[in-house]
């Protein structure tokens, strides 16, 4: 969280993350280039750069795409998500090296402009096997560049989280195009079953993890119980919510997180104002709802970030009837204070009713 924009707000975790990333990149390049020169000393420098950068960027993209679902399947992977944007921007730079070297190597110094050459040297757009695979690479690189250049919080704030998130979901489209780029390109030359197997393994891992995470998320998304009270939907029992944690519910199209803390309940939007992170998977820390993705914080009773921060989320009204929690899905404007529901009052009321009932019987 920050009040002003800065290129990078460095902290220990981010530095550690980036050092590990640089180490892995160096390890891959050392193995790839070292082995390439040892086994195939005839390779040209240009081909070495093209293949090393392309392979590294594609491997990094696989890791990037696996981090999201891994963090949803097991929260202990959340540190991998924390600085994923550095991984993404670095991957884009590596992919850019691949793209530029390809453009220079295969399309420059000819009788037409290199970019025109990319689209016109092979015009078999109607054939799958003969399709100009470079076009897939070009457009996926454009998407990755768009994502990298808008990755900063400045763009997140100005584009709004919803548009920003939609834009960044295009990474899946880019990934699909990159699979086609590799399949219709280098795999047409390098037909080794091992390479085809690696490609299939990568795609299956990405698709499998996303499916697994989607199934888990669907299970957790609580549909409202059959019960409606003056616009309030019955959603769960108080005991279902752990202390300082939340229950997330989808009611009337609203994604709501109901937090339990200090004998009270408060409901806010489940979408963090930063990157639409799942606030309901967060925790109350120092009296603030803390987003599990990047640690953005909000006060539970009004959805406002503690001063001097300015982020705000929508709030909702809650009601307790017996042990049942009811929520009104009509959102209040971001940062609107709503009095928390006191669990103690209800429990006391329940105890009194039970006591009266017992006394009546006697």
């Amino acid at each position: 969280m920050s009040v002003n924009y800065a290129p990078v707000l460095w902290n220990r975790q981010k530095k550690l993350y980036d050092r590990l990333m640089a180490g892995f990149m160096a390890l891959f390049l050392a193995v790839f280039i070292g082995l390439q020169l040892a086994v195939y000393p005839n390779i040209t420098v240009e081909t070495l750069i093209i293949r090393a950068s392309g392979s590294l960027a594609f491997l990094m993209l696989h890791i990037i795409l696996c981090i999201g679902p891994l963090a949803r399947i097991d929260r202990r992977f959340l540190p991998l998500l924390y600085n994923r944007r550095h991984l993404g921007v670095t991957m884009c730079c590596v992919a850019l090296v691949h793209g530029i070297f390809n453009l220079v190597q295969f399309h420059s110094l000819g009788n037409v402009d290199p970019l025109i050459s990319m689209f016109t040297s092979n015009v078999n757009y109607g054939s799958i096997g003969r399709f100009p695979f470079e076009v897939f690479g070009f457009f996926s690189l454009l998407i990755l560049m768009l994502m990298a250049t808008t990755s900063h919080d400045f763009w997140l704030k100005n584009l709004t989280p919803r548009i920003w998130k939609t834009l960044h979901m295009m990474v899946y489209f880019a990934y699909a195009m990159l699979l086609a780029h590799v399949l219709l390109g280098v795999i047409q030359l390098e037909k080794s079953p091992v390479l085809i197997g690696l490609l299939a393994l990568g795609a299956t891992t990405v698709a499998g993890l996303h499916t697994w995470a989607a199934v888990l998320t669907k299970r957790q998304d609580t549909e409202p119980e059959a019960g409606l009270l003056e616009g309030f939907h019955r959603v769960c029992q108080v005991g279902e919510i752990a202390e300082n944690r939340a229950k997330t519910v989808m009611v009337g199209g609203e994604n709501i997180a109901i937090f339990k803390y200090d004998g009270k309940l408060s409901a806010v939007s489940n979408l963090c104002r930063h990157q639409n992170g799942p606030l309901g998977e967060g925790k109350i820390v120092d009296g603030c709802i803390t987003c599990p993705w990047h640690g953005y914080q909000y006060l539970p009773h009004n959805g406002q970030s503690p001063p001097p921060f300015t982020e705000k989320v929508e709030t909702y009204d809650l009601r307790l009837e017996g042990d049942w929690v009811y929520v009104n899905p009509k959102p209040y404007p971001e940062g609107t204070e709503r009095p928390p529901c006191s669990i103690h009052n209800t429990l006391e009321k329940l105890s009194k009713i039970a006591e009266a009932y017992e006394n009546g019987r006697q």
Binding site: Q13, F24, S55, L109, V285
Partner: protein
């Protein structure tokens, strides 16, 4: 969703909780294994690269007779064989970048004020060689040495036969050393640019016994075939024509009445009948 007790990770805090750190360490160890293994598998499962050479930045000056058709050659005298017959090496001429040598030779001829076909000239350029074939990327047309018309006739094209040939069309400059690999789908667009730029096309064929042969492609009358082959660059095609030997090069003079066509799927070897 699994969590380690009540542990909660906050990125801006200096330390991550123990259980979370442990899980991340496991992930890092896994990536430590995956990264080098993937790198090694990618390298070890490539088809490899030709031992061709491109003496880029190391120009050589050579003298010989200029032959312009069916492709631009410098016919260099290499001494005599055991029978005392002169031996010539035909060096295919190309220009820097993805261009044929036509414009450079035309400018040279204009400077000399005459046609240089069959004339002894001195050229300087970077040599490209592989598999018994040599090309020169001409940097400079240095001088006209002698009006020695007829030298080329010492080594006239010799008809070897005719038929149909299946192979991949690519450009000889990249194929013989300027790029590795200089063939196949990834190189297709580059080959198209080179051929569109005037470099004569070459057909790379594979015989049933695994031997690779290279044929320069020319029209029936010896004219350039570049425009006609462009839609088929990088594909397995069938070319019908007669083959002539020109020194160390084989040239297919394509039959004018038999258009190029894609080879039937799976038919990369053998010689189909030309219809």
């Amino acid at each position: 969703m699994k969590t380690e007790g009540s542990e909660f990770y906050i990125g801006w805090q200096p330390e991550a909780p123990d259980g979370i750190s442990r899980r991340v360490r496991h992930f890092i160890l896994t990536v430590c294994i995956i990264v080098p293994v993937v790198g090694a598998l990618l390298v070890l499962n490539q088809v490899g690269f030709a031992d061709s050479s491109f003496e880029y930045g190391q120009p050589t000056a050579l003298s010989g007779a200029l032959v312009k058709t069916p492709a631009p050659f410098l016919q260099v005298f290499r001494g005599k064989d055991l029978n005392g017959k002169p031996v010539y090496q035909n060096i295919l001429l190309v220009s820097p970048g993805k261009h044929g040598v036509g414009e450079q030779l035309a400018a040279f001829e204009q400077k000399m004020g005459r046609s240089l076909e069959g004339t002894i000239v001195k050229l300087k350029g970077n040599l490209i060689y592989h598999d018994g074939k040599t090309l020169m990327e001409v940097e400079d047309c240095l001088e006209m040495l002698a009006d020695n018309k007829g030298v080329g006739l010492e080594n006239p094209p010799k008809l070897l036969g005719g038929g149909a040939f299946i192979g991949e069309i690519t450009d000889p400059k990249c194929l013989f050393g300027a790029m590795k690999p200089g063939y196949g789908k990834p190189h297709r667009s580059c080959a198209a640019r080179c051929i569109a730029g005037g470099i004569p096309p070459v057909l790379k064929t594979l015989s049933t016994n695994g031997k690779v042969r290279y044929y320069l492609l020319a029209g029936e009358d010896g004219g350039a075939l570049n425009e006609e082959v462009l839609p088929f660059v990088g594909d397995q095609v069938v070319v019908c024509g007669s083959v002539k030997k020109m020194g160390d090069w084989l040239v297919i003079f394509k039959d004018a009445g038999k258009p190029l066509g894609l080879a039937p799927e799976g038919l990369e070897l053998g010689v189909p009948m030309c219809k």
